[in-house]
Symmetry: C2
Subunit: 162 residues, 2 copies
C-alpha cells in the first residue's frame, strides 16, 4: 500500500484541490456566521420595534452624517440599488423618521436626514441592538473574540479593491 | 492626575461599555468582510455568466438535493421569503435551468429540480466561483486561514438557537 500523505505531497493538483476546498469551507463558514447573527437581529428588530434590518441600516448611516446623505451616497454605502433606497426612504418618510432636504447650491439634489423623532427612535434601537450583539458574541471567550477581530482585519486588508 | 486605567478597572459600567464597543466592532468587521467578498462574487457572476447571486445560491441548493426541494424548504435554506423564492424559481424555469416536478404521494406539492442543462450550467459556474474564493482568501497566510476557520467554528457553535 502507498502512503496517501506522500502521494498528496507529490501531486500539486491534489494539493490545489485540497486548498480550494479549504478556501470554500472558510468562506461558507463566514457567510453562515454572518447570516445566523443577521437572522437573530432581523427577528428582534421586527419583534421589538416593527423595524426591518435594511431600514435600520439606512437610519444608522444617517445618524453618522450630520448634514444627511444624497441618495447615490446612501446607495453606495448600503450596497443596494437606487430603486431599493428610494423605496426604503419613502417608507421612512411616511413614518416621519427621515426627511428630504434641499442641498444648498444644487437645485436638483436633495439630502436625506433623520428627523428629531427619527434620531430618538434610532438611538433607542441602537442601544438594544448593541446589547444583542454583546449577547450574541458573548459565548466566545474574550481572547477568541480579540483574535477573531484581528484575523478579520487582516482578511479585510488582504482583499482586492472592488 | 488620575490613572485612567485604574479608573476603568474600578468602574464596571465603563468596562461594560468598553466590551460593548468591542462586540459591535467585531460584528461590524465580520459583516464588512462578508459584504466585500459578496460584492466581488456578485459582480463576477453578473459579468461572466449574467447570473444573480440569489439565483446562483438557489441552484447551489438544488445541486445538492438529488430529488429536488419543496418551495418551503428552499425558502428556509436560503433564508428568503416565499414570494422571493417563487420569483427566483420563475426566472430560472423561464431560462430552462430548473423545473417543477410533482411529488409522488402528495398531489398538492411539487419539488423544484435542476434540469440537465441547469446542472451543467451550475457546475461550470461553481468551478469558477471556487477559483474566485481561492483567489479572494489567498491574500491571507495559510495559518491565518486555518485559525480563522477554527475561530468562526467556535463562534458558530456558541450562537444561541434561532
Amino acid at each position: 500500500m502507498t502512503d496517501d500523505h506522500a502521494d498528496i505531497a507529490l501531486d500539486p493538483e491534489t494539493r490545489l484541490a485540497h486548498d480550494d476546498h479549504d478556501a470554500l469551507r472558510l468562506w461558507l463558514r463566514m457567510l453562515t456566521c454572518t447570516m445566523l447573527v443577521e437572522r437573530h437581529i432581523r427577528a428582534r428588530l421586527k419583534g421589538r420595534f416593527g423595524m426591518s434590518l435594511p431600514r435600520f441600516d439606512l437610519m444608522a448611516q444617517l445618524e453618522r452624517a450630520k448634514d444627511g446623505l444624497r441618495m447615490s451616497e446612501l446607495s453606495r454605502r448600503l450596497m443596494v440599488s437606487g430603486g431599493n433606497v428610494t423605496s426604503l426612504v419613502d417608507q421612512l418618510v411616511r413614518d416621519g423618521l427621515v426627511e428630504r432636504r434641499d442641498v444648498p447650491g444644487d437645485r436638483r439634489a436633495f439630502a436625506v436626514c433623520l428627523t428629531p423623532r427619527g434620531r430618538e427612535a434610532f438611538l433607542a434601537m441602537a442601544r438594544e441592538h448593541e446589547a444583542w450583539i454583546v449577547e450574541l458574541t458573548g459565548g466566545l471567550a474574550r481572547s477568541d473574540r480579540d483574535r477573531l477581530h484581528q484575523l478579520l482585519g487582516r482578511f479585510k486588508r488582504s482583499l482586492p479593491a472592488p
